[in-house]
Symmetry: D2
Subunit: 137 residues, 4 copies
Amino acid sequence: VAGEVHWTDDVLRFRDTDANGHVNNTVFSVLFESGRVDLIRGRLTPHLGPDTFFVIARLAVDFRAELHYPGAVRTASWIEALGRTSVRFGQEILCEGAVAARAESTCVLLDRATRRPTPIEGAARTAAEALLRPSAG
Amino acid sequence: VAGEVHWTDDVLRFRDTDANGHVNNTVFSVLFESGRVDLIRGRLTPHLGPDTFFVIARLAVDFRAELHYPGAVRTASWIEALGRTSVRFGQEILCEGAVAARAESTCVLLDRATRRPTPIEGAARTAAEALLRPSAG
Amino acid sequence: VAGEVHWTDDVLRFRDTDANGHVNNTVFSVLFESGRVDLIRGRLTPHLGPDTFFVIARLAVDFRAELHYPGAVRTASWIEALGRTSVRFGQEILCEGAVAARAESTCVLLDRATRRPTPIEGAARTAAEALLRPSAG
Amino acid sequence: VAGEVHWTDDVLRFRDTDANGHVNNTVFSVLFESGRVDLIRGRLTPHLGPDTFFVIARLAVDFRAELHYPGAVRTASWIEALGRTSVRFGQEILCEGAVAARAESTCVLLDRATRRPTPIEGAARTAAEALLRPSAG
């Protein structure tokens, strides 16, 4: 069964534009980050000790459509794969019902003291599994 | 009689934070800009020719309180003074009912061809007057 | 024979930091973009008509090491593959001799009027070939 | 006698542009911030305890000229006034020898524990005085 999708709302800003007149491509990374942080803080951090934190190891973005200011977007975030110490997130930015971009990102849970990967276990793992939607590919 | 206030909603992003752990002070300028652009596009541009545009000449920000991610803010924008070719905007960023910062900014209407100041006249002036709230000071 | 590498210098800013105390991951996308734009404007645009422009279709970043403010970085940019209407760039951000991140990005040349892909031909293709370093993988 | 000026170099980025085709006005605040932080970290922090830090209370920017990508800028920073617990900085952004913007900003030294203003004393005050250039106005 497919897990839940976590939604995050954002408002585009004039500062998001660039000299090409549209929302700059790096802003998509900013929106995807806000979606991931929102999911992690809302769903996983409550079950993780203060001695751990996630770092991003890889990000891949497919750009599908331009975004323009002014406008509002929604970012859908879910978990595509759950490793022992890492999570692969799937995400989409939607604007007026259309997908503007898709992203895959791999984040690793680190121990704050050793700064080395540490297992995602117990209640945090259960919480992550509730957001697990294996990719079709 | 005091004119109308123009409200703009924004959502704070993780990217808005800095190494001090709070929302970076330059993000306040970004939010004030979105408020001004929103007011200008919504209220003045419809009455101005495509041959004119506003540029900012001066910005002064008073920082009153820190902002923290996650959170949502509202920006109030109005007109404090209306010159022949320029507008002085007053603005406030509010978060959870408290004023996080106040700003005054002076924007000048330029002729796109000559890039020189050009008068704010006719329906644009009437629209600006509806947002005029002279400052008490 | 391996083609040339195009180098771009950048200076890190306090604004590049985030609440984790290091340079935010989305800033890597900003630096990679400046490297690509610098290569495109310096090497390809002079041979392309004003009726064409590049858009990014895909970006994949591998994060290798943290960056910290203050500091300076250099971005190496080259071409990994040259399609009929698209270019795949390879890039690395270096700080103090170490690779902080690697990126692959695919950019497509569009016709400004039709906004459809258009061939990279003639002198522009020759200029691109001078930067071609096929990836080992 | 006029004190010393502290110089900071920066490189403009494509991301600094906005839909008006020039460097966005909020980027000036980013560059001024990097100049202030550079001065504070380089000249004042070595003489201040780890239990204190500066916060910005007010920023006023006068925009004199547009900046365009690509380009490099230098930011001059000095101290215009030295209060008991606060510093008023004067700054200029220069591009190709011309002043693009001037800024005045007031920063207050806070005690990290109480988050209340604390005096700038001893070696820190002496270091600040070496950068003191009272404004003519």
